[in-house]
């Protein structure tokens, strides 16, 4: 392979100028002629029977065009287990349940109408924690399943389980065993762009949805099903994805508001837009699940891990989304982070009357990583082994097959650990036990680290794990790219651009990424599981290869004539020049004669004469405008060699590659106030190979900010099912100020053979180990182990007082 021209460099993103100038069009900016504004009436109870809905006053509000309830619309069922309804008929099961929807000529009229809807309820006792929900005789959130069969308890009927090795024997043989219970809160994806959509039917009943989604094709399928329920089963659904102001997993499901927009558009015959306000986004869109993880790990006298036992209990909320499958990803670190010969894993999800939850970046991994990596430090302490040493002794190795059956290709974990430790000055600093003095007497400093592994080569969670790309060349040498994955701010289009430029041999300026639209793009399972760049590059490599072959094939006949013509022109302009003799036809006839680089087609063995270098655009026109002319394009559709695991047994090679990384933190703890200041962050990640150094750094900085927020600040607070902090006033994200500490990034590049250009997916890993790295540093500083995120100063202070400090 020749040296890379674009992949691996630091290149600005193609979407950056428009975004920076405020020109990018988000769902909030879009409008359609005659468009109405939809608004949702949400429940006023966490759990109640609906007795009566009076919409008469709402209907009288000027400008109102439709008021829908379950009584005047077809029933639309949706959700991962199809346990949710677009409009609730018999009862509400959470505060955000949709009981009515309004469409009006302007947002104020819609809001006014919603306020005038009167609903009579009969309140029911609710369950607000998984423990409560699973208690004998607890009120049932769902009395029946979607098929109408009675349900006996609040268990979500999904089983995730894994057992490997001889656990009992391993426990007995352990010299040291440490157990603990760790919890993580609900947090919000906090997209800068709130959720929204526009639904529009044409006169034939075909539906176009402008949707803020990460899964245009699975959404298309969901919406098609809804059309069937309305009685429009044979109509086309087209999903168009506008510029996304962040996704972070919130776009991995279809949402009630989308079905309501469809119903309102169908009812009124007009396009209908629903966009959530920030408060609605907080209160009525699904956050990341909270989790309680009970863990025990053991090791022998030498610090070799003997077993790991992990039981997770999750509050699913009232309905299921794809987020109910977090445990499928939890299995990856539980079975496969460090070498553990015996593993027990079980996850239980409970329906409650809390807000239902959905996917978020990391998808279960940060929840269990918090437990594993915190507990591992405790085990190291109990065994009297340095935490870094313990991790190195049990480090994953390239080529290993893990208890879950993950086939590890390359693995840079050892290097990640070593590099992080070196940057923290680990061996020197940890020699001085129990932290060091801070700048002031009441403050102490410490360092800590934590690692992760995650899917890095797509991840099969559906019947297909595929993506496809179309590359279409025009008369001007531009490459038009149609890709079904979603750019949501992560830099997908930048990676696509570089991959096309590199793999096809054109300049990046000549690559144009088309809109994400199910009408034009090949099918794609979705932009999740850190698969965007991995799959985009994989498909591009294949399509570009096909295009190059076709170009070189055509060049045998087209190139010699073009070169002759070029030589004639050259001679005319430079009459004194004596170009070297070169038999173009003979050279062109040889196999492998041609190459294409930076948009120039040339013969590999030819002398560097300008008339022997053919501009791609000129070549494409020659191919187009001749007898039997041809336009060049290529499509590639790739379903990667990943396995859909048997989740009940916890076995299967989920991904084609695995990503690793280690993060380190230095913190200062105020002994009197409990405040934690992160003085430094180090993140060393095995990324396979760097694709675009700039977007990669962006992904990591962004993920670290989310990791820091998860560790210290973020929590969706609720009481009796009501969300108490539905705004940025009281839901705290780290600001630029909190991210002002020095951050050191380093990338380990083992060149993954399964990865395009050697790369692995890295969209999620950056936020996974941040919290335990910080908590381990706190423990180093002040000797207390914290079990519950976020690490609010009150909690730290309480732990310090309990210890008697």
């Amino acid at each position: 392979m020749t040296a890379r021209r674009y992949i691996g460099r630091a290149v600005p993103r193609p979407d950056a100028p428009d975004k920076a100038a405020g020109r990018a069009l988000y769902i909030h900016d879009l409008a359609r002629p005659g468009m109405l504004y939809g608004k949702v009436k949400f429940s006023e109870h966490a759990h109640a029977r609906i007795l009566r809905i009076d919409t008469s006053a709402a209907e009288r509000v000027r400008g109102v065009r439709a008021v829908l309830t379950a009584w005047n619309t077809p029933e639309l069922r949706f959700g991962f287990l199809r346990d949710n309804l677009a409009l609730k008929r018999d009862k509400v099961r959470q505060f955000r349940d949709e009981v009515a929807a309004v469409a009006a000529v302007d947002p104020d009229a819609a809001a006014e109408a919603v306020e005038r809807i009167r609903v009579e309820y009969e309140p029911l006792p609710g369950v607000f924690s998984p423990e409560e929900a699973l208690r004998e005789g607890a009120p049932l959130v769902h009395e029946t399943d979607p098929q109408g069969r009675p349900r006996r308890d609040n268990r979500v009927p999904l089983r995730f389980h894994h057992e490997s090795g001889d656990l009992a024997a391993a426990e007995r043989a352990s010299r040291y065993v440490v157990a603990g219970t760790f919890s993580t809160p609900r947090i919000q994806q906090s997209c800068m762009g709130t959720a929204g959509c526009i639904a529009e039917f044409d006169r034939r009943g075909h539906l176009t949805m402008w949707a803020k989604t990460q899964i245009p094709f699975l959404a298309q399928r969901d919406f098609a099903r809804a059309l069937a329920d309305i009685g429009l089963g044979d109509r086309d659904v087209r999903v168009v994805v506008p510029t996304l102001g962040g996704g972070f997993g919130s776009g991995l499901d279809t949402h009630a508001y989308e079905y309501l927009a469809i119903l309102l558009a169908w009812k009124t015959g007009r396009p209908v837009k629903i966009v959530y306000t920030r408060e609605e986004e907080f209160a009525c869109l699904s956050p990341r699940q909270c989790a309680v993880t009970r863990i025990a790990q053991g090791c022998d006298a030498e610090g070799r891990l003997t077993f790991r036992r992990v039981e997770v209990l999750q509050d699913n909320g009232a309905y299921t989304s794809w987020g109910a499958t977090y445990p499928s990803v939890m299995m990856v670190p539980v079975t496969s982070l460090y070498k553990v010969p015996a593993v027990y894993f079980d996850a239980q999800l409970a329906y409650t009357n809390n807000t239902y939850c959905q996917a978020m970046r990391g998808y279960g991994n940060p929840e269990v990583n918090w437990a594993i990596e915190s507990n591992l430090d405790d085990l190291a302490r109990a065994a009297g082994i340095d935490p870094l040493e313990l991790r190195l002794r049990n480090c994953n190795e390239p080529g290993e097959v893990t208890p879950m059956g993950l086939k590890v290709g390359t693995c840079g974990l050892r290097e990640c650990l070593e590099r992080t430790a070196a940057r923290l000055g680990w061996r020197e600093r940890r020699a001085a036990r129990d932290g060091t003095a801070g700048a002031e007497p009441a403050k102490r400093r410490g360092i800590g680290l934590a690692s992760l592994c995650h899917v890095g080569g797509s991840g099969r969670i559906y019947r297909s794990d595929a993506s496809g790309v179309v590359l279409r060349l025009d008369d001007f040498g531009f490459v038009h790219v149609l890709y079904g994955g979603v750019e949501m701010g992560q830099g997908l289009h930048s990676v696509l651009t570089l991959a096309v430029a590199e793999a096809l041999g054109v300049r990046p300026e000549k690559v144009v990424i088309g809109p994400t639209d199910t009408a034009n793009c090949p099918w794609d399972v979705g932009t999740h599981a850190s698969r965007g760049a991995f799959m985009a590059c994989t498909t591009v490599l294949r399509a570009a290869d096909a295009l190059r072959r076709r170009i070189f094939d055509l060049a045998r006949t087209v190139f010699p004539a073009e070169a002759e013509e070029a030589l004639r022109r050259h001679r005319k302009r430079n009459p004194d020049d004596r170009p070297p003799e070169f038999d173009v036809a003979a050279a062109a006839a040889r196999t492998g004669a041609f190459d294409l680089r930076d948009g120039v087609l040339f013969l590999r063995d030819a002398p560097p004469e300008p008339w022997l270098r053919l501009d791609l655009a000129r070549f494409l026109r020659a191919v187009h405008f001749r007898e039997g002319g041809e336009m060049l394009s290529a499509e590639a559709f790739v379903d990667p060699p990943t396995q859909l695991p048997d989740f009940e047994r916890g076995f299967g090679n989920l991904s084609a590659a695995y990503a690793y990384g280690t993060q380190g933190a230095e913190v200062e703890v105020d002994l009197e106030t409990g405040e934690v200041r992160v003085l430094r962050l180090v993140a060393v990640h095995d990324v396979g190979a760097v694709l675009n150094a700039q977007t990669l750094a962006g992904q990591m900085y962004g993920a670290l900010a989310q990791g820091l927020g998860y560790a210290l600040y973020e929590e969706v607070l609720s009481e009796g099912g009501r969300i108490l902090n539905p705004d940025f006033r009281d839901y705290k994200l780290p600001t630029a100020h909190e991210m002002g500490m020095p951050i050191e990034l380093e990338f380990v590049e083992p060149n993954e053979p399964a990865g395009p250009f050697g790369a692995k997916g890295v969209g999620e890993p950056g936020l996974v180990p941040t919290a335990p790295a910080i908590a381990n540093a706190i423990c180093d500083a002040v000797g207390v182990r914290l079990h519950d995120l976020p690490l609010r100063p009150e909690r730290v202070l309480e732990a310090l007082r309990k210890r008697g400090g």
Binding site: D108, A111, E112, E115, E279, A439, E440, P441, A442, E672, T673, G674, Y713, L717, L724, N725, R729, D730, K732, L733, P734, T735, A736, H737, E738, P793, E794, L797
Partner: protein, 290 residues
């Protein structure tokens, strides 16, 4: 947002006329509290009268006798550019600098902060420490009260219907005073979970005068007179500072809410006040303006 009529008078009498003509009308200065509430449909005023175009309400002037008169509708950012505020009232400047964000500071006004009467209003503790007075005017009549008596409870002030807060008056600052404002926050952009404003005047190591106030730890911003009395006239020692902190923690009446627990807020008042006193007395490198 609900609809309202919007009025932009250019004189105070015009503003009073508009208030009288539109029952239920509310005043708008920067709008950073008001518009949030209207948008959330917490209040639905039929009319909004803007104070933004009334020249006498903007700007700060040094008064005879060395005090400072600040027009109620002066934006925070303007105050931070005003030499008299920055040099002579550093305790106020410290609080203004950590209030909200640059964008909000460009429009939020001092009068709005006080009239909104939130226990966490950042300008209140330093103004209490400077013993500021507020000027209330209506079509017929003008009165002036100490800021301390202006606050009645959360969102409640002594302002009567038809009255406009026209100015805040600060007496000449105590010469040589050392000051420190600490705002306890979750992240940089946040409302105060607890705050302390400390002004100490020393002769040698003896504290001649102490003015201490706290925010977010009671129904109104609080002046902590008992603590002031404890320190005044005494040599500041670590023990005295600790006693002052402990007394302050006992004198405040915080509540548990989303942002913090009452117990932790007391701890913060205790620790931050003790550290502030020590730092101002030059006894320890601890604390520091946030």
């Amino acid at each position: 947002m609900t609809a309202f009529s919007y009025h932009r008078p250019t004189t105070l009498p015009e503003a009073w006329r508009l208030l009288a003509a539109h029952p239920g009308a509310v005043l708008l200065a920067g709008g950073t509290d008001l518009l949030v509430r209207i948008r959330a449909r917490e209040i639905r005023p039929p009319a909004v009268v803007s104070l933004r175009r009334i020249p006498v309400l903007a700007g700060a002037t040094v008064e005879r006798g060395g005090g400072l008169r600040i027009g109620a509708a002066t934006p925070v950012a303007d105050l931070l550019r005003h030499p008299a505020v920055v040099r002579r009232y550093p305790l106020l400047a410290q609080a203004l600098r950590v209030m909200a964000s640059p964008q909000i500071r460009n429009v939020a006004t001092l009068g709005g902060n006080l009239c909104n009467a939130s226990p966490c209003a950042d300008t209140a503790p330093p103004l209490l420490a400077y013993e500021a007075r507020v000027v209330l005017e209506r079509a017929r009549g003008r009165r002036e009260l100490p800021l301390e008596t202006f606050f009645l409870g959360p969102g409640e002030t002594a302002r009567r219907p038809g009255e406009i807060l026209t100015a805040v008056r600060l007496p000449a600052p105590p010469p040589g005073a050392r000051v420190l404002f600490h705002k306890q926050r979750r992240v940089h952009l946040d409302l105060a979970l607890a705050s302390v404003a400390v002004l100490l005047q020393f002769r040698g190591s003896t504290c001649r005068r102490a003015r201490i106030a706290a925010g977010s730890v009671g129904p109104t911003p609080l002046r902590l007179r008992e603590v002031e009395r404890l320190i005044e006239g005494r040599v500041v020692t670590p023990e005295l500072a600790a006693q002052a902190g402990a007394l302050a923690a006992r004198s405040v009446s915080p509540i548990d809410d989303l942002r913090a627990t009452a117990a932790w807020r007391r701890t913060i008042v205790e620790v931050r006040l003790r550290r502030a006193i020590l730092e101002l007395a030059g006894l320890s490198p601890e604390g520091g303006a946030s």
